[in-house]
């Protein structure tokens, strides 16, 4: 049994902002069915590049659901630039931590958020340095190394 914090349990049992959004301004998708985790993030963005609303749909474990729920709460009201600075660590911190083995579940949130914002800004996702290790998330070895370093 994973030792989940009360906040993780709360966000899993009572997820905030669940469901598809009508007429979203941006959508970010990550993960896949074969992978066992997937997240679809919907954003409303106003003229000042500020996120006014967010919602999600998630397929995955409790950490994945809680991370998604936390993410939507965290991004509401902040600017796109600030949103881009959010890391999976911030998501985990917001949840009072995730079990070590479950840190990767919060990476999905960070990834979907960046994809949504980049798509909104019309930026082509650039070829990333490193080798893609996880086909599902398009995660590279370098990203894993840096995530591991950040998380310890």
């Amino acid at each position: 049994m994973w030792e989940y914090s009360n906040k993780v349990k709360d966000h899993f049992l009572n997820p905030r902002n669940v469901g598809a959004m009508e007429n979203p301004d941006a959508v970010g998708e990550t993960g896949s069915l074969s992978c066992g985790d997937a997240l679809k993030l919907f954003l409303k963005i106003n003229g000042n590049d500020r996120i006014t609303d967010a919602s999600f749909m998630t397929f995955g474990c409790a950490s994945a659901v809680a991370s998604s729920s936390a993410l939507t709460e965290m991004v509401k009201g902040i600017s796109l630039d600030d949103a881009l600075k959010l890391t999976n660590d911030d998501i985990a911190d917001y949840l009072d931590g995730l079990p070590k083995e479950k840190m990767h579940c919060s990476v999905m949130g960070q990834d979907a958020l960046r994809k949504a914002i980049n798509a909104y800004r019309g930026i082509q996702i650039m070829e990333k340095p490193g080798n893609v290790v996880c086909e599902c998330f398009g995660v590279t070895d370098l990203e894993i190394i840096s995530a591991v370093k950040e998380n310890h």
């Binding site: 997820p15 469901g19 069915l33 992978c35 066992g36 397929f59 474990c61």
Partner: protein, 385 residues
């Protein structure tokens, strides 16, 4: 909150009768069964009786029973013994749905130069007998096949394979950790050379298990040390555990009928209701040839851990079909071997019952699960209404 425990293929409660039998050996009778003084001798006699009771469950002779510490040890010991008995042979046959105790042990042997054939199963979890028979050769030291699968409950044709193995002079071991106590087992009739069973799956405590070794087989110990177990397994005997296992085997034998009737009916009832009440759900494994207590059922587009945790809120204990507990995202190797589609493999739950379960408990599950699945599907990007 009342707990509805349907995770008996993982582990079982210690039967109160078993604990009662053990308690004297955890208090006043603490002697060492191999000691000279009569104080230890009492314990020795109780162990003799336990050995008889265990042997009766599987129709073995008491001498053929070696007590070990867990099913995993029995499996390791069986593989070790088979290879030592055939030092010149370098090939092992198994299935691709074995428990990690077999699977991981054989994978390590591959690194040491052994060749292992992993006979595949079909989408119903049935062994490919053709490949199995074609892979048998003069170089084969051992065939090891589980009697019944821990995840799906699917039963392998042990007797048939054992006969073929014997014809070709190949040792045959079966991991009967899940079969023992759930279906009748007769080692003589089945013709197996070695068989593993584990106490904590049949209402004995954790920490005690058995390796059956057929009389006459040249056996080399895996755990080497003192002369315990006639020199076949070193280490001071887990006396209380062994005595508890004796009682548990007695009870298991008495309950075999109930397994085949009451428990099977409860399982079938649960299965039928869940399939009816939850759309896009499906049973994994050959339904007509399963352990009577096991139901592996997949729900499309949702994820196992989330289901388990929501059921946990309602006091229901079960297992998922994913290897998530080990930090991996993959569905279990058993479901993958059966080529269960990803959308239902990730959402697979295993219910495994015991004689302690009741119809009320099944009704509780049947009430709780449909809204749980609906709620998770409502937030799943893969659920198409």
């Amino acid at each position: 909150m009342k707990i509805v425990y349907t995770d008996n293929n993982a582990t079982t409660r210690v039967a109160p009768e078993v604990l009662e039998e053990m308690l004297p050996y955890l208090s006043e009778y603490y002697g060492n069964p191999s000691s000279m003084h009569s104080f230890g001798g009492n314990v020795g006699r109780a162990i003799v009786q336990a050995r008889e009771k265990v042997s009766e469950l599987i129709n073995a002779d008491p001498d053929e029973i070696i007590f070990t510490s867990c099913g995993t040890e029995s499996d390791n010991a069986a593989i070790h013994a088979a290879l030592e008995a055939n030092p010149e042979k370098r090939h092992i046959i198994t299935s691709n749905v074995e428990h990690p105790a077999i699977k991981n042990t054989l994978e390590l042997l591959e690194k040491k130069g052994y060749t292992v054939t992993y006979v595949p199963v079909d989408t119903k979890g049935r062994l490919d007998m053709d490949i199995l028979y074609r892979s048998m050769s003069k170089d084969t030291a051992l065939i090891t096949l589980m009697w019944a699968n821990n995840e799906t409950g699917v039963i392998f044709p042990i007797q048939e394979v054992a006969r073929k193995a014997k014809e070709q002079g190949i040792l045959f071991h079966t991991d009967a950790v899940q079969a023992a106590g759930k279906i009748p087992i007769d080692v003589k009739d089945a013709g197996v050379d070695m068989l593993s069973l584990s106490g904590h799956k049949i209402h004995a405590p954790k920490g005690v298990a058995v390796l059956y070794v057929k009389k006459g087989l040249k056996f080399s110990s895996f755990m080497t040390g003192g002369h315990q177990e006639k020199g076949r397994r070193g280490g001071t005997e887990n006396t209380a555990g062994i005595i508890g296992l004796g009682k548990a085997c007695d009870l298991a034998r008495a309950h075999l009928g109930q397994m085949d009737t009451t428990v099977r009916e409860l399982r079938d009832y649960l299965e039928k209701e869940l399939l009816e009440k939850i759309p896009s759900s499906s049973v994994n494994g050959e339904r007509s040839n399963r352990l009577p207590n096991t139901l592996s059922i997949g729900f499309d587009a949702v994820e196992g851990e989330s289901i388990l945790l929501l059921m946990d809120q309602a006091g229901i204990c079960a297992s998922s079909g994913s290897a998530c507990t080990s930090g991996s995202l993959d569905p279990s190797h058993v479901l993958m071997a059966m080529k269960v589609p990803f959308e239902s493999a990730h959402g697979t739950i295993r219910f495994s019952l015991s004689t302690y379960n009741t119809r009320e408990e099944m009704d509780h599950i049947i009430n709780v699960l449909p809204p749980v699945i609906k709620r998770l599907r409502d937030m799943s990007p893969f659920w198409k209404k």
